[in-house]
Amino acid sequence: MGLAKRIIPCLDVDNGRVVKGVKFVDIRDAGDPVEIARRYDQQGADEITFLDITASSSNRATMVHVVEAMASEVFIPLTVGGGIRAVEDVRRMLNAGADKVAINTAAVANPDFVKAAADHFGAQCIVVAVDAKQTAPGKWEVFTHGGRRATGLDVLEWTQRMAEYGAGEILLTSMDRDGTRDGFDLPLTRAVCDAVTVPVIASGGVGTLDHLADGVLLGHADAVLAASIFHFGEFTVGQAKERMAGRGIEVRL
């Protein structure tokens, strides 16, 4: 008995609409992030993450409305990532109803921003998102811009530093595995989870329900994030929880 491991469905949102298609048979508007979030909530999702892939600032205002609408009817935690570059961006999302913001590129460009945001709003709402690529056996480097730009930063050193700076959680994505459906990069996940004192969300590569359980049992992840296996109605969050529980993992049923 104790803290449950979390399952977090992730939605990519562009100009207020979900992209990379969500295909539930019985959903009215598969492009509406709030309707999809409501569906995942009904299935037992422990949190929801919206990743705003919008490029322009006018579309960002749309994201604020999406977050407001979600906060009015879905009563589980919401994390919003993408384009969070200044304390003002954090404030805007939290005021709209987000519980946490995920900071990625801006943390690399200006690590003190993480410190400022955590000091101001509390570590509990600051997630640092890290995109990792393997460079040698047992070595991973931080990348930005969707995995296109190398930073020279070592993932283990970087995640520890971000926790010291006030990140309340790390969202760790393997760029090598993202989209492959081959499962998490377990050595990476385990190395980071064992190295930092804050919770770690594993991401990138989930193709089966057992991959989620592996992330927890072998990767030591505190939470697991997935997109496509849930979006296409292939599996429900409830099925994922049953499989995890069947493998001895504590989940919220």
Partner: protein, 216 residues
């Protein structure tokens, strides 16, 4: 009309608390306010909390809210959430040591790193304590109505309440150690978890609060 004042001291996400209250009590008037007069007029008061305790107590004082808050704590159904629980106690270790409102006896220490290990796996327990954990109801209360024993609620915090009076403990949770996740006395009920983020069980607790007569 049933008026619920939600104290706004300018520290982050209060929209969720208001929306959740409006959801469970469509006929009530939910008022987000930093005006002491509104606290005095309201039928019940919610004290939500986020951020750091030093900033919270300072912000209460800079808005001149402390006297009205203390008065509400004596007179009307009162719900504290997260920092709104912690701030009721004598002293918090946060920020190098911060005095609280000292309405309830007890301290608010940091989860001690040396004790943070999972008994089953031996793995380190992470801080903040973040996610869905169980609340054991140690005594009956109107706010627990229709909420099963050991229900999971959503937590996110690095400091925990060590209550100085066992009679004021309404719920406990295990995370490395056993801490007070709900405290109550007379017209006060306060929780460490976030009912506004705890799906059905959390909404039920808020609904119970809105219907509560404030009697222990």
């Amino acid at each position: 009309m049933n008026t619920v004042a939600v104290i706004d001291y300018g520290m982050g996400n209060l929209r969720s608390v208001c929306k959740a209250l409006e959801h469970v009590a469509p006929k009530a008037r939910v008022q987000l306010t930093s005006n002491p007069d509104d606290l005095a007029k309201a039928d019940r008061v919610v004290f939500p909390g986020q951020g750091a305790i030093g900033g919270c107590v300072r912000a209460l004082d800079s808005h001149g809210l402390r006297p009205a808050l203390l008065r509400a704590l004596e007179t009307k159904p009162f719900l504290g959430i997260c920092l709104g629980l912690q701030a009721l106690f004598d002293f918090s270790e946060e920020g190098g040591g911060t005095p609280g409102l000292a309405v309830l006896p007890g301290r608010v220490p940091l989860f001690p790193p040396a004790q943070m290990h999972d008994r089953a796996t031996g793995l380190r327990l992470k801080v903040p304590h973040m996610g869905w954990n169980q609340v054991q109801q140690v005594r009956p209360h109107a706010l627990w109505e229709d909420i099963p024993q050991d229900t999971r609620f959503y937590f996110v915090h690095s400091y925990y309440v060590d209550s100085g009076d066992r009679r004021q403990i309404a719920g406990v949770t295990e995370y490395g150690l056993r801490f007070t996740s709900a405290a109550s006395i007379n017209n006060i009920f306060a929780v460490q978890f976030h009912p506004e983020k705890s799906q059905k069980a959390g909404l039920r607790l808020l609904e119970n609060f809105v219907n509560w007569d404030g009697k222990d």
